[in-house]
């Protein structure tokens, strides 16, 4: 008798059945419906931003076969997270969410979806994990990984090489949202699976699967990122991101300045938007940005990660090189619209 095999198979089917109580269908686009996960029993539903084409007349299909109306609370294209609120009195079951600290590369995982009435499942393994990862950004990320590049370089499917090459393989222009962990799996994203959960062997939900952040790669937005984005969306209706209004590229600093500043590379400003925070702060074409708020900026990714939402409205000291001289200006971080 196939004891281990049947136990394994039964356990997996049971795990799907248990998780399915928190998995809903989301009808918010013309073609195939997609999947959502109950975040809290009071009606908050998590799904993928990219599956919401119309934010009017969103319907959700519940595990008991009934449907309910839902409204869009907010969405964050950078992490592909959207939050809905179910309308009326609906019976929802929140699942157990887990952090990734017990998850290892090679672990079995299931992806679930409910594009129709029934929950569906695919099987895979955790392919790659890394401690910090910032989603690829169109037109950004031209610099090499630099000091922060460790997380991105290791396990990154495109080798963490030159940013220009990476841009070619990026599908979503909205990318660039900060994620707490980079989770790649080999689960098949069956049609309508986006917005559905990645379920670990313990039955807990490890995150939300999306096929839209990177073409051909099944990525999972991890629980801590989801939690952070949902809390922001529930409070503000959107995720705030800081804005300076410059276009910049990395340049090597002259030896004497490199020595003086203890930094080899800065960001040369090659365009300043009129009336932008950078413009108002006195930054001009040709300035080389060295630090912002006392943090070194050696590539565009570093600058972007300094422009977090909580920096909006703050006046930051920017150290720049202008005409061979080190100067300081002050810029007040704006909000990207």
């Amino acid at each position: 008798m196939a004891e281990v095999l049947t136990s394994l198979s039964d356990a997996m089917a049971e795990l799907v059945e248990t998780a399915s109580k928190s998995i809903v269908r989301i009808e918010a686009r013309r073609r195939l419906p997609a999947t959502g996960i109950v975040w809290s029993a009071d009606g908050v539903i998590l799904t993928a931003h990219h599956i919401i084409e119309s934010d009017e007349e969103i319907q959700i299909g519940l595990p008991d076969g009934s449907t309910a109306a839902a409204v869009l609370v907010g969405r964050d294209p950078s992490t592909d997270v959207a939050v809905l609120r179910a309308q009326g009195t609906v019976s929802l079951t929140a699942p157990t969410w887990a952090e990734l600290d017990t998850v290892k590369v090679g672990h079995l995982v299931l992806a679930l979806g409910r594009p129709g009435d029934q929950v569906q499942a695919t099987l895979g393994v955790i392919s790659a994990l890394s401690s910090q990862w910032q989603g690829p950004q169109r037109g950004g990320g031209r610099g090499r990984g630099g000091r922060r590049g460790g997380g991105r370089g290791r396990g990154f499917p495109f080798g963490g090489g030159d940013g220009g090459e990476r841009d070619n393989v990026i599908y979503r222009r909205e990318g660039g949202g900060q994620q707490d962990t980079f989770v790649q799996t080999d689960v098949v994203m069956y049609p309508g699976f986006s917005g559905g959960p990645l379920v670990g062997a313990g039955g807990q939900i490890l995150g939300m699967n999306t096929s839209a952040l990177m073409r051909g790669i099944s990525l999972t937005i991890p629980t801590p990122t989801i939690r952070r984005v949902i809390e922001t969306l529930l409070t503000h209706g959107k995720v705030r991101r800081g804005y300076l209004g410059v276009t910049a590229q990395p340049v090597k600093l002259p030896d004497n300045l490199a020595q003086e500043l203890d930094q080899e590379v800065g960001l040369m400003v090659i365009a300043v938007e009129p009336d932008s925070p950078a413009h108002k702060g006195g930054m001009v074409l040709g300035d080389v940005l060295v630090t912002l708020g006392d943090e070194a900026v050696e590539n565009v990714d570093e600058l972007l990660s300094l422009l977090r939402g909580d920096q909006v409205g703050k006046a930051l000291k920017a150290r720049i090189v202008r005409g061979g001289q080190v100067q300081e200006v002050e810029v007040t971080v704006g909000e990207r619209s």
Binding site: M12, L110, Q118, Y190, G192
Partner: protein, 219 residues
């Protein structure tokens, strides 16, 4: 047989996990050994064909209609290598099923499972002759079952979607559950890792209809 504990033997290095995996592998091999006994090849003696499963020991074989196609001659190769000419007993293009007969008796058959009770996440194995590789196996899980699968025309007919590497040549062959019971007939793929099988309850209905006609003719 007293649950998982009886199969976990921690050795001196504490390598219980390896024992578990070894046992899992042995068990899968056992299931496949069993399935091979009733797995046949269906061909016209020239080009590569597909697979089939012995349904009845008297020589009734189930395969896909598209494996039969419009071949003028059909050979069935039994697991022991014996090649027998086959006749088409019934064929239903819309179900993509065919019933063949060969003159034989005492053939090893496979127990049908309950495809209506399959759950998403359950393990299944597809066996056939992909690209002419005899008896090749692919394993994975049930994605879903029913008449509402997104990639298929909404005809209301039941399909079994499975997450494994099915390939041409698996067609007509058996899809089995972890107990080695026949749950479907491998039929088509829509992607590298997504295959579809006709569930065994549909096969049963097809055979019931086909055999009823045979009985009527015989009378």
């Amino acid at each position: 047989m007293s649950g998982a504990n009886s199969v976990v033997n921690t050795d001196e290095n504490g390598a219980a996990g390896f024992d578990l995996l070894r046992q899992l592998n042995d068990e899968i091999a056992g299931v496949i050994d069993h399935v091979w006994q009733s797995l046949v090849q269906v061909s016209d003696g020239e080009r590569g064909g597909g697979a089939g499963t012995i349904w009845h020991s008297d020589g009734l074989i189930v395969t896909n209609a598209h494996v039969v196609g419009n071949r003028s001659r059909l050979d069935v190769t039994l697991p022991n290598g014996e090649v027998l000419p086959a006749q088409v007993l019934a064929l239903a293009a819309d179900y993509d099923l065919a019933a063949l007969v060969v003159e034989a008796d005492g053939l090893p058959t496979i127990e049908p499972g309950d495809s209506k009770k399959l759950s998403p996440g359950e393990w299944v194995f597809a066996v056939g002759h992909p690209w002419g590789v005899l008896g090749a196996v692919t394993g994975g899980v049930v994605i879903g079952m029913g008449g509402q699968l997104p990639e298929l025309p909404q005809t209301g007919r039941d399909w079994l979607a499975v997450n494994l590497h099915m390939r041409p040549g698996h067609s007509g062959g058996p899809l089995v559950d972890v107990r080695g019971r026949l749950v479907g007939v491998n039929t088509m793929i829509t992607g590298p890792d997504v295959g579809f099988a006709v569930p065994v309850h549909v096969v049963k209905a097809f055979l019931k209809e086909a055999l009823k006609d045979q009985v009527a003719e015989a009378v």
